[in-house]
């Protein structure tokens, strides 16, 4: 039950951030994938199965606001959430730079999965915008690492 409530809150936060990004900057949509950030952080904290379910739910939201084949983002985010939960339990991601590298690899993988599926099934060109889109995994990983660090510190303070 706790996982469902946390998931709903995380999805609401991601959705709020997604709605606020556009008024801040038109390019922000391209460089930060807030749903990917949310899925990676959630998966890391909650484990592979909740991560996969949360990824699927976020994918549904992303696809609802995107033209083209419905379910493309869902597949890559489901896999991203699962891997975030699975790999984070197999390796130590406590050091910040290792955590950043972990998120960078997963964000790049999620991005590559979406781009590959878009090319294969959606047959739609990606919005490269002069290479701006390539910043997405790095920026998303930075955001995920910062949020993860914040959550970890908050939890540590609460336990003290």
């Amino acid at each position: 039950m706790r996982n469902w409530i946390d998931g709903a809150l995380a999805a609401a936060a991601a959705f709020l951030a997604f709605s606020l990004l556009r008024p801040l900057s038109a390019s922000a949509d391209l460089v930060v994938d807030v749903f990917s950030v949310a899925v990676l952080v959630f998966g890391t904290h909650k484990g592979e199965a909740p991560g996969a379910v949360f990824g699927a739910a976020c994918g549904l939201i992303v696809d609802a606001f995107s033209l083209g084949v419905f379910g493309l983002a869902g597949l890559s985010l489901t896999l991203g959430g699962f891997l975030a939960g699975y790999v984070s339990r197999k390796i130590n991601i406590q050091p910040f730079f290792r955590m950043f590298a972990f998120f960078a690899v997963l964000a790049a993988g999620t991005f590559a999965g979406w781009a590959g599926l878009s090319a294969l099934i959606g047959r739609s060109p990606l919005p490269w915008s002069g290479g701006l889109l390539l910043l997405r995994p790095a920026v998303s990983a930075s955001a995920a690492a910062m949020i993860n660090l914040g959550i970890r510190r908050w939890k540590a303070r609460r336990e003290r």
Partner: protein, 279 residues
């Protein structure tokens, strides 16, 4: 739960989710561009939430933003006063031109029709994955918005058309920078027609089906809609030719910068009257 299932719970959850989405994808593909029931349902659930978030933020207000906004108001007012003056002059000139062309009654009827022919809408969201493909606006069927209605920006420049999914309070706009968009356009200086199709990768568009033998179109020439497609009314500014090339085929390769500015897309107008849409 059997031990076998308990041990493989995570893997089974993943497999189940992936399978469900693969089935979902397989249902989608034959539909092409038509929105599925699931997509429509998801849009119907989340679009009002996004609408609510934007409305709450707008309603609640941001004091710092308002303070900064007020500081800019004076300068804006001066600019708007100048623009209003210019528009009044333009309006007077247009009325004069119309009166020359038609009798007074017909001109008045035409102008009155134009006044009622649009619905203003705020942009409440963009395509989450491909920003240059579509946007979501806070007006829907309840406000008279229907499928295929043209959408223009605050300066009357062509932005796109209404497509599915559409809801009572929200609607999706396919931008002219979407690769599946097709608008009949022609040069303002040289009346050569072609089809304007978007390029979501760059946020620009291509003017296609202009014969390679045609030499009349030039770079920096403005393009406007022709109305031949029976979706967009004629005369809407659509873009400017950036470059003209050939690729050995029968047609020219003409790159077009859309007339509307994506970064400035906060308010749009849906042309609902007889001059817009098919209804």
């Amino acid at each position: 739960m059997p031990r076998f299932l308990k041990e493989r719970k995570n893997g089974l959850v993943l497999a189940g989710l992936m399978f469900a989405q693969a089935v979902l994808l397989s249902f989608q593909i034959p539909l092409g561009e038509e929105a599925s029931y699931i997509e429509r349902a998801a849009f119907a659930v989340f679009a009002p939430i996004q609408h609510g978030i934007r409305s709450a933020l707008r309603g609640g207000g941001d004091f710092l933003g308002r303070y900064l906004y007020l500081r800019r108001v004076e300068e804006k007012n001066r600019r708007y006063r100048d623009e209003l003056f210019r528009l009044r002059q333009e309006n007077a000139l247009l009325r004069n031109s119309l009166e020359r062309l038609e009798d007074r009654e017909a001109a008045d009827a035409f102008l009155n029709r134009l006044d009622r022919a649009f619905v203003l809408a705020d942009v409440i969201g963009v395509d989450a994955l491909q920003p240059f493909k579509s946007i979501v606006i806070n007006r829907g069927t309840r406000h008279g918005v229907r499928l295929q209605m043209p959408v223009v920006d605050a300066r009357g420049r062509l932005v796109g058309r209404i497509i599915a999914p559409i809801d009572s309070g929200e609607a999706t706009v396919q931008l002219i920078t979407d690769n599946l968009s097709a608008v009949s356009v022609r040069g303002l200086e040289h009346p050569v027609s072609g089809i304007l199709s978007g390029d979501p990768a760059s946020g620009r568009a291509w003017m296609i089906y202009v014969p390679a033998s045609d030499e009349s179109l030039v770079e920096n020439e403005a393009l406007a809609t022709t109305g031949f497609d029976r979706v967009f009314p004629p005369g809407l500014p659509a873009g400017t030719i950036v470059s003209i090339g050939t690729d050995g085929s029968l047609f020219k390769k003409i790159a077009v910068q859309p007339a509307f500015d994506f970064r400035d897309l906060e308010i749009v107008a849906v042309l609902t009257g007889p001059s817009g849409g098919r209804e």
